[in-house]
């Protein structure tokens, strides 16, 4: 770790202005990704701005939407009776992230700001067509994800919450990396106000993506068999020590089929 100044502002405006005013200042949520990055000296921030005192944590459910504050931990989402009732697939997704320690520190805002290509939440956000709310604007899921570890966020922009439209059907299936539990391949399927959508994480070289061919198949016929017939090309998928692109392409099909079956 390099030296930095640690700040814990009490107001969103103050946090935002520190971050906007200094290109080397960085936000800190649960630190699950950011602290290891600092420890390995992969980042040299001037200031670390802790978002914990801004009141950004909490869950609000109305009839049609579930709004989750950026600083809400995965464990809170997983345990929330409201989320379980409105979007059970989302609670289940949160409950299968990493391990107990990660779930109690890691946040939805941190996960989305980071946009790890193997993270679970991006698949949910993209498949349900959620809206990312920041201190400046509202960003539609389709415009938010811009490639691995890249998002539409600007310097100094802070995610405050995420608004999910409640879908009629939804499910997430992941084939977890045996060690970290990150998705080797994760597929979120949803049928809701934003249409019939399928988002794939863990597989794409550019991070989370929508699987248009599966969406069309499901729009015509919502069934496991419908997606089972859709081939996923290996081009553009990740190859690493855990799995080849071809293996991942195969898994996308298996996970999608199982997700549709689980969604009912």
């Amino acid at each position: 770790m390099y030296d930095f100044e640690y700040l814990k502002p009490k107001a969103l405006a103050e946090a935002a202005s520190i971050l906007a005013g200094d290109g080397d200042a960085k936000a800190l949520a649960g630190g699950m990704t950011f602290i290891p990055v600092l420890k390995q000296r992969l980042n040299k921030p001037s200031k670390v701005v802790d978002l914990a005192a801004l009141g950004l944590s909490g869950i609000k459910v109305s009839g049609e939407t579930v709004e989750i504050g950026a600083m809400t931990t995965h464990a809170t989402v997983a345990a929330s009776a409201d989320v379980k009732r409105a979007i059970p697939a989302l609670a289940k997704l949160a409950g299968n992230i990493g391990d107990e320690a990660v779930r109690h520190r890691g946040t939805i805002g941190g996960s989305l700001a980071n946009n790890d290509p193997s993270a679970c939440y991006p698949a949910a956000v993209l498949a349900m067509g959620a809206t990312i709310v920041t201190n400046k604007r509202r960003i539609e899921a389709d415009n938010y994800f811009q490639g691995m570890f890249a998002t539409a966020l600007e310097q100094g922009e802070v995610i405050t919450s995420v608004v999910f439209p409640v879908p009629a059907k939804a499910a997430y299936m992941k084939f977890a990396n045996p060690a970290s539990r990150y998705a080797m391949v994760g597929v979120f399927v949803a049928k809701g106000p934003k249409g019939t959508r399928v988002a794939v994480t863990g597989a794409g070289q550019n991070g989370v993506f929508r699987h248009k061919a599966m969406e069309e198949a499901l729009a015509k016929n919502w069934s496991a068999d419908a997606v089972a017939g859709v081939k996923t090309p290996a081009d553009g998928l990740n190859s690493d020590i855990h799995a080849s692109a071809e293996y991942r392409a195969h898994l996308v099909g298996v996970m999608a089929k199982r997700a549709v079956a689980a969604a009912g």
Partner: protein, 770 residues
């Protein structure tokens, strides 16, 4: 000639019916023990005496040792897989505020052969200053061609890791490598073992089975890293070290630094695993001592996880080509294996003696080769050689049984001469429900279940240079002492049981002091030999101390010493148990503050099969049979090991709880080897890609099957305790049992480790190979 006497011992497998054997034994040896059922503590479930300390964190591991003024040391390591050291200037590091000693471990012009090879080391006031000092070392490396892949290293034009003159002649971990073999390119060998005439054997065969098997490099991944705190003082050297062999390290240090043995002390309390990788002093140990000598202060050197993965030993990877000839009834006519293995820059990558010894086969040949690559040195790891060797052979035997239309157990009943394993197969088959086993791939549905079996074989090793002491103090308290260390098996508890059995006390009454060379020299904790080596002399020492105490008690009880026995905390007259003294009251009669007896290991009563300096091998090998039940998801390729039944023998079991825990550990390590672990080297950079525990995955609680352990009581009348080891046999059969179960599940044979989901799918023809 020492005086001898004749004794009749119970002999045989208790579960299968006992007989007797008559032995002439040295006159001073204690009388035969009856089977465990008639003993008070031996063979019983005595919980680890230090269990509470372990779970509450009170146990002191080497990494916990803090001495006043202690410095912190770190290595500068070669960043490249192959390089010439061009420049090494340590002046700035030495001048750094807080740096106390800097040493060079290589000279300009030296050839460095793997990424991670130590180049220099520093000791400083804190780990942070040590890191700064490392950064201040001016080192230049000229990159040289390298090869990290074994197959590529065998090619005629591959970059050479060594020239013939520089190639190592032995293995630095102490694991024996055949001497004097030719080196051609990067390939050394073959080491040849031959009997009979293999060509004739194959000609006489009705069926020939061929197979190729590949095993990966596995790292030891001890939870406690390699660590040492060295304290060099004018009056002698004390070293706290996480080691499997305190006395051995002491000898190495004395020789290396020109010190008399009585000025070198080696101490280890708790140990968090070794598995063969902490058997020697090693470069890190030597370096810490040298730094302490230079600085005049204690020096702590503990490897971090990255260093553990790249330069703390590993189980060599192998490629095995196998041919097996048999008659229609299963009788083997010939077995020929050619293996290539790589221990990186070191030797010892063979497939052991598993195939040589396990089955009756008159015509036999192995050709074993070592292949050098630019990677960290391998060393002995839990069942070295035999673990990869069993992965190949036990699958070939499974294939043969199918080709013959014989049940794999029936085939083994025909070709395996071991009585213990025959009984183990019988018991295991019953426990796992072998009769439920279906034809390969016959399970319908996407998730297919299957069952498999494989066998284990290991040597019954004994350290002959072993001593221990038993003391009785005048207040009736008892101590047992030896420099032997507890690698995690619970040897201290075993020692307490033996002494308690002899003295008629409870194990908790015995204070066991071990892991310190101030005590009589205990043996090493490798080669599954600790219990076999230490318990016989311990029993003899306890018997002698008791005899001395008995002389005092006899006077008081008006009896002859031979008429007495020690039971339930009392010394009493055998024929009249009412006439007795509390053990404590007997001790109060002693004329000195304490009495003691020191004993050394006697030879096994029927002698040894083979004798080596300070060590020997008993006649009967250790067995073991493991059954695995797996579920294979044929859509994702994921294998789940649902159940393992492990039936093992180790002579006379001393503590069933501890034995079970050893077997569970061995099985879990085997599951990890079978399904998860793999060192990945990047062919382009020559670096290890997954040098951590996130990308190098060890089996955890989610991956743990239900493990059922059965331990036979296999009495032979071989020593005062008749006990042998278990740690290594417990690891050898697991991976092939799982592989055979996977075959039974999906009907397709996997021939390489680890059996990851992508490998399974590729084998099923659903995707290409990754």
């Amino acid at each position: 000639m020492t005086a001898t006497r004749t004794e009749i011992f119970s002999a045989g497998i208790v579960e299968a019916g006992l007989g007797t054997v008559t032995r002439e034994i040295p006159a001073g040896e204690p009388p035969p023990w009856p089977p465990n059922a008639e003993l008070t503590w031996i063979g019983k479930d005595v919980p680890r005496l230090n269990g509470r300390d372990k779970v509450t964190g009170a146990t002191r591991y080497t990494v916990d040792v803090r001495l006043p003024g202690m410095l912190h040391a770190r290595f500068l390591r070669c960043p490249l897989p192959s390089a010439e050291l061009r420049k090494l200037d340590t002046a700035a590091a030495t001048a750094l505020d807080g740096a106390r000693a800097v040493i060079a471990l290589a000279r300009p012009g030296d050839r460095l052969r793997y990424a991670g090879q130590p180049v220099a080391a520093v000791a400083a006031l804190s780990p942070g200053v040590a890191a700064e000092a490392l950064a201040a070392i001016d080192a230049e490396f000229r990159p040289l061609p390298f090869v990290v892949d074994m197959d590529e290293a065998r090619a005629p034009d591959a970059p050479l890791v060594y020239d013939e003159a520089s190639a190592p002649k032995g293995n630095p971990s102490g694991f024996p490598a055949a001497p004097g073999l030719p080196v051609v390119g990067n390939v050394r060998g073959p080491a040849v073992v031959r009997r009979g005439d293999p060509a004739q054997g194959f000609a006489a065969a009705d069926i020939v089975v061929e197979g190729e098997y590949r095993t990966q490099v596995q790292t030891h991944s001890c939870l406690e890293p390699h660590a040492i705190v060295a304290d060099w003082r004018a009056d002698g050297l004390t070293v706290y070290m996480s080691t499997q062999f305190t006395s051995g390290v002491r000898q190495e240090l004395a020789a290396l630094f020109g010190l008399p043995l009585n000025r070198v002390r080696v101490v280890v309390d708790g140990m968090g695993g070794g598995f063969g990788s902490k058997s020697q002093l090693g470069v890190y140990g030597r370096t810490a001592v040298e730094l302490s000598r230079l600085a005049g202060l204690p020096v702590r050197l503990a490897l971090d996880r990255h260093e553990e993965q790249i330069d703390a030993g590993n189980r060599p990877g192998t490629f095995q080509r196998m041919r097996l000839g048999a008659k229609r009834d299963g009788t083997l006519t010939a077995l020929a294996i050619e293996s290539h293995g790589t221990a990186g820059v070191a030797l010892g990558a063979g497939i052991g003696f598993f195939a040589e010894r396990i089955y009756t086969c008159p015509n036999f040949e192995t050709l074993q080769h070592d292949v050098f690559v630019n990677a960290g040195p391998g060393c002995a790891m839990r069942g070295p050689g035999n673990t990869p060797g069993a992965y190949g052979l036990e699958q070939a035997i499974d294939t043969l049984s199918e080709r013959l239309g014989l049940d794999p157990l029936a085939l083994r009943d025909r070709i395996d001469p071991s009585k213990a394993r025959r009984e183990e197969r019988r018991i295991g088959a019953e426990r796992i429900g072998w009769s439920r086993r279906h034809k390969p791939g016959a399970d319908p549905g996407a998730v297919k279940r299957g069952m498999g079996v494989a066998q284990s074989l290991w040597m019954s090793n004994v350290q002959t240079n072993v001593a221990c002491e038993v003391r009785v103090l005048r207040d009736g308290s008892v101590e047992a002492l030896s420099s032997v260390q507890d690698i995690g098996t619970g040897i201290g508890t075993v020692m307490a049981q033996v002494v308690a059995e002899v003295l008629g006390l409870r194990p908790g009454d015995i204070t066991v002091r071990i892991g310190d060379t101030e005590f009589p020299p205990g043996g090493p904790s490798y080669g599954s030999r600790t219990t076999a080596s230490i318990t016989p002399p311990l029993r003899t020492a306890a018997t002698r101390v008791l005899a001395e105490l008995g002389r005092e008690a006899a006077r008081m009880l008006n009896a002859a010493p031979e008429e007495l026995e020690a039971r339930e905390g009392r010394i009493r007259v055998k024929s009249d148990p009412g006439r007795s003294l509390a053990f404590r009251d007997a001790a109060a009669l002693l004329r000195t503050d304490r009495i003691s007896a020191v004993e050394s290991r006697a030879d096994d009563y029927p002698g040894f099969r083979r004798r080596m300096p300070d060590a020997a091998m008993a006649h009967e090998d250790l067995g073991g049979v493991q059954f695995a039940e797996v579920a294979v998801d044929t859509e994702t390729g994921a294998i789940r090991v649902e159940r393992v039944v492990a039936v093992h023998d180790c002579g006379r079991p001393i503590n069933r709880l501890l034995l079970e825990s050893q077997v569970q550990g061995g099985v879990l390590m085997g599951v990890s080897y079978a399904l998860l672990e793999r060192r990945v080297m990047d062919r382009r950079t020559g670096l290890m890609v997954n040098a951590d525990l996130e990308h190098y995955k060890l089996a955890g609680v989610h991956d743990t099957p239900e493990i059922e352990v059965v331990i036979l009581e296999n009495l032979q009348g071989n020593s005062a305790t008749d006990a042998y080891g278990i740690a290594e046999p417990a690891n050898i059969a697991t991976a092939p049992a799982i592989a055979n179960a996977v075959y039974n599940a999906i009907g397709v044979r996997l021939t390489s480790l680890p059996m990851t989901p992508d490998v399974v799918l590729a084998a099923l023809g659903k995707t290409g190979r990754s």
